[in-house]
């Protein structure tokens, strides 16, 4: 999974992200903090959804299945918005 062309201001535990490829329809930034930040920050071109889910399940000491479902749902939104390109997972 890789990120699309974005502008990003990152600080501890928070990212404000502007989608540079879709400025006409996404005119203001998205803000990721908490679990959304933890997912976003791990989308770095080296990790799969499963990798991220496993890391977050360990981080939050949460059930793996639930975390995997949350990661999938969030990443699906990011893909639909064009913030992430996911060539690992076939389109649903």
């Amino acid at each position: 999974m890789t990120r699309g062309p974005v502008a990003e201001v990152a600080s501890a535990g928070r990212s404000a992200v502007l989608n540079l490829a879709r400025l006409e329809t996404q005119q203001s930034p998205y803000v990721f903090d908490g679990p959304s930040f933890e997912i976003w920050t791990r989308i770095d071109g080296t990790r799969s959804r499963e990798d991220i889910a496993a890391e977050l399940a360990a981080l939050y000491a949460a059930p793996a299945e639930q975390v995997a479902a949350d990661v999938d749902a969030f990443v699906d939104q990011l893909v639909a918005l064009g913030l992430v390109e996911d060539t690992d997972t076939p389109p649903r």
């Binding site: 990003e8 404000a16 400025l23 006409e24 005119q27 930034p29 998205y30 990011l78």
Partner: protein, 318 residues
């Protein structure tokens, strides 16, 4: 859930800088981000929260940039008739979802070389920095220094913040390698600010001081100094606006200047709420301030003339 959320001024400023640079590049427009992030990068100014992003754009590219930003939801801020008439060097763009503004400059006050020539000089020397992960063009060190000096001097150094800033800038230039500082003088001549920034150039001493020009030529330099000497007051600008009005319109123009309509007060001060009485009080205070500014601009001892400014710039801070 992916949501837009609340983003801070600092985040907005950086992201808007990246956005403006991206749009300019996609449209092949010549645009340089001035002040702000570039000034901090060059260590000419301390980092501080900024409410706006400033872009200097080649004059022939301004309309296209403003139109393109319009497609992204950025519209010219509503301005009064007077503001539209006298502030012809820039357009302020606003977006309902963003807490900061984008000032699109076709020229910069104090830099009186033809706008196209000044931009060409700055474009040739531009550098690039990363802002929010995007490569953003900024002026070279010496051009950034001159823009900052002009920005700071134009209110006549009546504000403590401006005094601190110009002194910081002077110290930064004096601490720079001799070769770098030596380029300030010739750049001031090229950009047409050797007269408008004469006190600042003289305060730097040496070869740079020799580039300071005492004689003021042309309307732009005259207007610049009228405003600086009046401590940044709008009185001088308003007087020129009145002089330019057609004779048959002068009485009406003068009346509007002294007693602006309520809708113009609201446009110029969107942060204030006006009813009949608060508008009356505001107008009266404005008249009193106007008289005070007019008296100061004609009082040799209170005038912010070049000699006074040079002394203020060079004074050591306590």
């Amino acid at each position: 859930m992916v949501t837009h959320g609340d983003f801070s001024h600092a985040e907005a400023s950086a992201l808007l800088t990246a956005l403006a640079a991206t749009v300019a590049q996609e449209e092949s427009l010549r645009a340089i981000v001035i002040k702000g992030e570039g000034a901090v990068h060059h260590q000419l100014r301390e980092p501080r929260a900024s409410g706006d992003v400033d872009l200097l754009v080649a004059p022939e590219d301004v309309d296209r940039l403003v139109a393109r930003m319009g497609h992204l939801g950025w519209e010219p801020a509503p301005r009064s008739e007077l503001a539209l008439a006298v502030i012809d060097h820039s357009t302020t763009l606003v977006h309902p979802d963003w807490p900061c503004t984008l000032d699109v400059h076709r020229r910069f006050p104090g830099l009186v070389a033809p706008a196209g020539d000044a931009m060409a000089a700055m474009w040739d020397e531009r550098e690039a920095i990363l802002v929010a992960g995007v490569a953003v063009p900024i002026p070279s060190w010496r051009h950034a220094a001159l823009i900052l000096a002009a920005n700071t001097l134009r209110a006549g150094l009546t504000e403590p913040r401006d005094v601190a800033e110009i002194r910081y800038l002077r110290r930064a230039i004096q601490a720079a390698p001799p070769g770098a500082a030596a380029g300030i003088g010739p750049a001031a001549v090229t950009l047409g600010c050797d007269a408008s920034l004469a006190p600042f150039l003289r305060s730097l001493g040496g070869e740079t001081a020799r580039h300071a020009r005492e004689a003021r030529t042309g309307e732009q330099e005259t207007e610049w100094w009228e405003r600086v000497e009046a401590g940044g007051s709008m009185v001088a600008i308003e007087r020129r606006h009145l002089q330019r009005a057609r004779p048959r319109e002068r009485v009406a123009t003068a009346w509007r200047l002294v007693w602006p309509p309520l809708e113009e007060l609201r446009l110029e001060h969107p942060d204030l709420t006006f009813d009949r009485w608060s508008a009356l009080a505001f107008r009266l205070r404005r008249i009193v301030r106007g008289f005070s500014d007019f008296r100061r601009s004609h009082n040799p001892r209170a005038k912010r003339d070049a000699e006074t400014l040079e002394r203020v710039i060079g004074e050591q801070e306590s």
